[in-house]
């Protein structure tokens, strides 16, 4: 059972790293600032979410999982606020 949990956790973390790499590839490959914002926000959110899922089984029983999920939610909220602002600024230039 614990081996299965560990395997799934490892898989989720590795997949998360793939999405972070995809976000970085998008940052380098995409043609304009707003497209790069798509890459940096959406791919990285999924990557971070998968890494959080992978780390959940290892979190301390009290508060640990809540803290991990809070990290994901705070990143989502801050980039939801910053993304449209940056896209608006990029368009004005």
């Amino acid at each position: 059972m614990s081996l299965l949990v560990d395997a799934l956790a490892l898989l989720a973390i590795l997949l998360g790293l793939v999405f972070f790499a995809a976000g970085t590839a998008g940052l380098l490959r995409f043609p304009d600032a707003s497209s790069r914002l798509h890459a940096l926000t959406k791919a990285d959110h999924l990557g971070l979410g998968l890494i959080v899922i992978g780390l959940l089984p290892r979190a301390e029983a009290v508060g640990g999982p809540a803290r991990l999920i809070a990290v994901w939610v705070l990143v989502l909220v801050s980039s939801a606020a910053a993304g449209p602002l940056l896209a608006r600024l990029a368009r004005r230039r």
């Binding site: 976000g23 926000t41 959406k42 939801a80 368009r91």
Partner: protein, 154 residues
Amino acid sequence: MAAGAIRFALLLLAWSGITGGADLALGALSAAAAACCSLVLSPPGALRPSAPALALLVLRFPWQALRAGMDVARLALDPRRAPTPGEITWTPRLPPGPARDAFLAYASLLPGTLPAGEAADGSVIIHALTTDPAIADAMTAEEARFARAIGADA
């Protein structure tokens, strides 16, 4: 006053959840400041959020995040595919104000769309990685769901 106290209590609860109960004095100070800001930015009573619609929105979100991430990752990693970015204009139903801003922030997390400011005629410019006219309809459907959840559809 009651709304402020409830917000303060929830923020302090979030603080103790994240810190594990450390530095409660600092947490109380931060929670009080945050509650004051929230009362100014979002006065109580203006919206009546609907719990079932809100739950639906939150439960759908991981699926949306998955679709959005896969979408971008495919475009970024597959050398045979390249993004064809473009802008579409879309007319929101929500009036200008905090509710519309909140929806636009939320929409930036959804697959393929990134709000990028307003056009001169008051419509919203959406930056899309793959330009597709269906995006406007999807935004309208998503906006209706969001408005129901936060109670701004009345």
